[in-house]
């Protein structure tokens, strides 16, 4: 069968245009649909009052606090581990069997579904270590989940730092550690921050790993051992159990706006960082 290449080209071009258009419009449609229905429920009292009557009425204040507490702790745990790993991989070693094992491990960890993290966090932190359903259990589980992202983005950021920076530092007689802390880390900081913010976005939206480790208590958490419900879990429970559709939309809208803002900041930072070293 023979097609005229020009006609074939025209045909494919139109087809691909259509595919792209459909893809982008579906994604936009979902976004606008949720925001349009959700923003009606969102107002200042919705953000500042606690859920009442299992979330049938009232706001989402305690879940916002829960989300922030859980995410911040997860970041505090994962960032030193991730950045440390990245420093080792880029500055302290060459490509060899050990780095390949580390990279493969991080890649596999990134591919593990969140429900497996949830199961694991439940059995280790909640049951065996007796932390119970708590912010501590939840944030440890989340930290393990976001570790690969932080390793990868920090590594890429450090690789972007020109090697001349390192050479100049050495020529001034610094040790390797001084070079890393005084030259490489400050230069790579925007890139590292990008990875961290990206992980914040992922933690905020996570449900499966959190619901079995942090639980779903509606009170404002008082310590790292109290159970807490995140916005994503709250939304899931409201929607799945049909508790309140309007509050579900509202929570989803707040969640999406938070995540979009985080992603836009990340994108800005990343672009600025890339421009600096290119």
């Amino acid at each position: 069968m023979y097609f005229n290449p020009r006609k074939e080209q025209k045909f494919v071009q139109i087809l691909l245009w259509t595919f792209t258009l459909i893809t982008v419009s579906i994604l936009f449609f979902i976004l606008i649909f949720i925001l349009k229905n959700g923003l009606r429920a969102v107002n200042i009292p919705f953000l500042t009052s606690n859920p009442k009557n299992m979330g049938r009425s009232g706001g989402i204040f305690s879940t916002i606090i829960g989300t922030i507490a859980l995410t911040m702790m997860a970041i505090l745990i994962a960032t030193p581990l991730g950045v440390g790993s990245a420093i080792y991989l880029t500055e302290y070693t060459r490509e060899n069997r050990i780095t390949r094992i580390i990279r493969f491990g991080a890649e596999c960890l990134a591919g593990i579904p969140s429900i497996i993290f949830g199961l694991f966090g439940f059995i280790l932190f909640v049951t065996k270590l007796k932390f119970g359903w708590s912010i501590l259990s939840g944030s440890l589980t989340l930290a393990f989940m976001i570790l690969p992202t932080i390793i990868r983005t920090s590594e890429e950021a450090m690789k972007c730092v020109p090697s001349s920076y390192r050479e100049v530092s050495y020529s001034l007689g610094t040790t390797k550690w001084q070079m890393v802390t005084k030259v490489v880390l400050p230069s790579a900081l925007p890139g590292i921050v990008t990875g961290v913010i990206l992980s914040v976005g992922r933690s905020i939206g996570e449900t499966a790993a959190v619901i079995f480790t942090a639980g779903s208590a509606l009170r404002i958490p008082t310590s790292i051992f109290s159970s807490s419900r995140t916005m994503a879990v709250h939304f899931y429970i409201l929607a799945r159990e049909g508790i309140s559709l309007s509050n579900a939309y509202g929570t989803a809208a707040v969640l999406i706006i938070a995540i979009l803002m985080i992603n836009i900041i990340t994108y800005r930072l990343m672009n600025r960082f890339m421009k600096k070293y290119r």
Binding site: I112, W177, L255
Partner: protein, 285 residues
């Protein structure tokens, strides 16, 4: 100087230990999931788990076949929907669109990758499920609904990795082919796609992993009935939903059986990861 050198050595060792955190966490997770899940697999036999049709976990009946098939069906469905659109979008943005358009659309798609999966699930419940129920019949909560939503969810993964691997090709490939008089599409079809194949395959496998592993969205839209679906309009339960639905109240052997479900899921994901890793490694060399 001597103590500085000693410090350097200590720092290097400390960093090596930290660098092994990801591998150790992977190992710990594997150990704990297998420790909880495998005893019951051995007690009642792998065969009963993999090929059993009945899941009555409180009566020692742990057949996971409907869930295994359920996971595979919705994943296949997600790929059927996600791959043509994702790949089409990636090809369009790298080879056919203007640079400006690409610089607008790619970030938008990546931004949308951040939408939480529960939101996609909710969208499925309020829009897609009623639509399927009205137009095609059946309960609406179905293989089809889950496939469509998962297909949409994996689009950003497939698009952005495929774009990266198409853009990573040396410009000389394009130039050479165009210079021989090939059209853009002929160039794409005969030169670029084969050259970027391993990266594209990796993107599809990663999307597949995301679809198999997705939990909350699937619970909301797949219907969760424990039976092998006969058509795409029948409800279905996946391995992930099986864990998440019953974890809240399971105890004893029932809970162990859920961990066994996790073990099977884990093995499937690890196989996919390894294939993706090999495929990506081939791209680099």
């Amino acid at each position: 100087m001597n103590h500085l050198q000693r410090n350097e050595k200590l720092i290097q060792i400390a960093l090596l230990v930290v660098a092994f955190s990801a591998v150790s966490i992977l190992a710990i997770i594997t150990v704990f999931i297998f420790e909880e899940g495998t005893p019951i697999l051995f007690k009642y036999g792998f065969k009963n788990f993999l090929f059993g049709l009945n899941w009555y976990p409180t009566e020692q009946s742990f057949g996971l076949l409907p869930m295994i098939l359920g996971s595979l069906m919705v994943t296949l469905g997600a790929l059927i929907i996600g791959v043509p659109f994702g790949l089409g979008c990636a090809i369009f943005l790298t080879e056919f669109s203007s640079k400006q358009l690409r610089h607008i659309i790619k970030p938008i798609i990546e931004l949308l990758a951040g939408i939480p999966s529960v939101v996609y699930g909710f969208f499925g419940v309020v829009i897609l499920v009623p639509f399927i129920r009205k137009t095609l019949g059946g309960p609406g909560l179905s293989v089809l609904a889950a496939s469509i939503i998962l297909g949409i969810m994996i689009l950003p993964t497939i698009i952005s990795i495929s774009i990266d691997s198409l853009q990573a090709l040396p410009p000389s490939y394009r130039e050479g082919s165009i210079a021989l008089g090939a059209t853009r599409w002929q160039t794409t079809k005969m030169v670029l796609l084969p050259a970027a194949r391993s990266g594209i395959v990796a993107s599809i496998i990663l999307g597949m992993g995301r679809a198999i592993g997705e939990t909350m969205a699937v619970i909301m839209i797949a219907g969760n009935a424990i039976s092998i679906p006969h058509s795409v309009l029948d409800p279905v339960r996946t391995l992930t939903s099986n864990i998440a639905l019953e974890m809240g109240y399971a105890s004893g052997e029932h809970r162990q059986a859920l961990f066994a479900t996790g073990v099977i899921l884990f093995i499937i994901i690890m196989i996919l990861n390894t294939v993706a890793h090999i495929s990506a490694a081939r791209r680099k060399s």
